[in-house]
């Protein structure tokens, strides 16, 4: 039995089993088991990329020995395993960096349950990445919504309760729209398996029937709401900011990216780029993406709480990804996926380092009270600066490359897209410089009076340094990543 063929199945099943074990194990045991699980997922995905690079073909894995369209299937190829590796690695680093604070924020008796929910989230995101069945996709969308709700609620605090309520309401609207879209798609094609759907939708009647357009709109809007696309972003800051830092990092850089990858899968594999372009959703998604970049950045400049600033910057970064999807060409979608990886690594680092900076400033999150925290807590200061520089688009860091890829993709389409993307990028880079520079200058400003500084563990410092290193590598040595995305897209 080839080990490679079992990787997708293991990535979904293993966290589900260890998640149950985490719920009953003692505190330390569950934390250890959860870390090991996420590390095994990272290793397994790295192994499958290694095999794909050395010549293995993409494959489908029948669950329960029935091949599609009768049985449920998982599919793996270079694109899926690259995405799953990036996301699992982010999840591992976010957990590592946030584990100290998680021990403080979460009541002692409930920590096993917290790690159980993290495992559930890991299983659902891996399932979203690997599934070859659109209804399984829906089920895991809901499972990750439940996991995300529990991650926010892990901190027993009024902000988290209210944030979770808003998060769940908006997300359930999104999943309801997705479910209706999937039901209508099933009604029109009679298939749920993505390969069969692709065959039956390979040459749709022209002009595209309204029923098919409706399905595309429902699925795009549903998944757009769930990943926080402008103008459905109002729940983001409350949900991401106030929970324990590991939860914020996981929500913004792990769970929301699962939805985005599912959308890319639906756009590319189910309908195909031609049909999506004919449906007329592309300009709308493109416009919402661009508007999200500007509005998210403008809102971020107005925040005085550093966590809310980082959360609003997520709105802008999600805008970049949707702008790439909205251009709907091969290069633009690869640029969007590259930005998914860049944003995952940078945003999890920003959330974790912001939490460390807050902890070394007497648990106050206002910009003014963070003065000097970058000196008191060296690794967090460096990590925050690197993350801010990467997302602003400073050369030699990942964010710069994704902006380059996006502009190249836009220039290749036509003048309108080129002008629109370049203008949006220019304006957003300006705005991002304004708010990130404000924050970075603030954390290195000399302090006026002594503050109570919480001692930071060496472990979380090491995690932040590892994240900073990965972000620098993304900017300087990311050609293999881009190649893996390209070859994966061609075989997708």
């Amino acid at each position: 039995m080839d080990l490679l063929r079992n990787v997708p199945f293991v990535c979904v099943l293993l966290p589900l089993i260890t998640g149950i074990a985490c719920a009953v194990l003692p505190r330390r045991g569950s934390k250890f088991l959860c870390f090991v699980t996420v590390l095994v997922l990272t290793g397994a995905n790295a192994y499958s990329i290694f095999r794909f690079v050395s010549g293995a073909e993409p494959f489908t894995y029948p669950m329960g020995h029935f091949p599609g369209p009768w049985g449920n299937e998982l599919r793996s190829g270079p694109l899926e395993s690259t995405m799953a590796l990036c996301l699992s690695l982010t999840a591992f680093l976010s957990l590592w960096a946030g584990s100290g604070k998680a021990g403080v924020h979460i009541p002692r008796g409930k920590q096993g349950l917290y790690y159980s929910v993290v495992c559930l989230a890991a299983a659902s995101v891996n399932a979203l990445v690997y599934t070859n069945d659109i209804f399984t996709g829906y089920v895991f969308i809901e499972i990750s919504t439940i996991a995300a709700g529990a991650l926010i609620l892990s901190r027993q605090d009024g902000h988290c309760l209210a944030g979770c309520a808003r998060y769940l309401v908006m997300n359930l609207v999104g999943s309801g729209l997705c479910l209706m879209g999937i039901a209508m798609l099933y009604g029109q094609t009679g298939h749920l398996n993505i390969d069969s759907l692709r065959r039956s939708l390979s040459s749709p009647p022209q002009p595209l029937p309204i029923s098919l357009r409706t399905v595309i709109v429902l699925l795009t809007v549903g998944l757009g709401i769930k990943s926080g696309l402008f103008p459905f972003h109002s729940w983001i800051p409350d949900a991401y900011s106030y929970s324990t830092p590991a939860s914020g990092a996981l929500l913004s850089s792990f769970i929301s990216k699962g939805y985005i990858f599912l959308l890319v899968k639906i756009v590319v594999r189910v309908f195909g780029l031609e049909t999506i372009r004919a449906s007329g959703v592309c300009p709308v998604v493109f416009a919402f993406g661009a508007a999200g970049i500007i509005m998210g950045s403008v809102s971020a400049t107005r925040q005085s709480d550093i966590r809310r600033m980082v959360a609003f910057s997520s709105v802008a970064q999600i805008g970049y990804i949707y702008m790439g999807i909205g251009m709907c060409t091969r290069d633009s979608i690869i640029a969007a996926l590259f930005h998914v990886a860049v944003h995952s690594f940078a945003k999890s680092m920003l959330f974790s380092s912001a939490a460390s900076l807050i902890a070394s400033s007497g648990d106050r999150a206002q910009m003014d009270s963070l003065a000097g925290s970058g000196r008191r807590n060296l690794p967090a200061g460096i990590a925050f600066t690197v993350g801010a520089m990467s997302l602003t688009g400073v050369p030699l860091l990942g964010g710069f490359l994704s902006k380059i890829y996006l502009s190249q993709a836009a220039i290749a389409i036509d003048t309108f897209h080129a002008v629109a993307v370049l203008l949006t990028l220019a304006l957003s880079t300006f705005l991002q410089t304004v708010y990130f520079l404000h924050a970075v200058v603030n954390i290195y400003r000399p302090k006026e009076k002594s503050v109570h500084s919480e001692k930071q563990g060496i472990l979380s410092g090491a995690a932040l340094c590892a994240m900073a290193l990965i972000n620098i590598l993304l900017g300087t040595a990311s050609v293999p990543l881009y190649r893996a995305l390209l070859s994966g897209f061609l075989q997708f």
Partner: protein
Amino acid sequence: MASFFRGHLYEAAAMILFAVGLTTLLLHRNMIKKIIGMNIMDTSVYLFLASMGYIRGRSAPILEDGVVSAEHYVNPIPAGLVLTGIVVSVSVTALLLALTVRLYKRYHTLDIDQIVLLARKGDG
């Protein structure tokens, strides 16, 4: 138009219920009514799926009297989807209800707008 609705009565009803549920979930301020809205929305999709899966004159796909021809039975998949969907919506409803109990214990109101305001004022 009238004949279209007569032919697709259940689908049309499902769409209307979906719209009712979605609006309630999105626009109502009371948490309990939001949860009811979500359930109406999900149930409307089940009605939609079930009405697509039913073919007049055919029976449930359980082998009876040795009739093996597929022409005698309806497709079991929509029913399977409905069952899966029910399980999912029950678990989400449970989570939301638990959250609502917590919110009510803390803020003594079910109005989401007031809860958000109180949360901003209270623990800020």
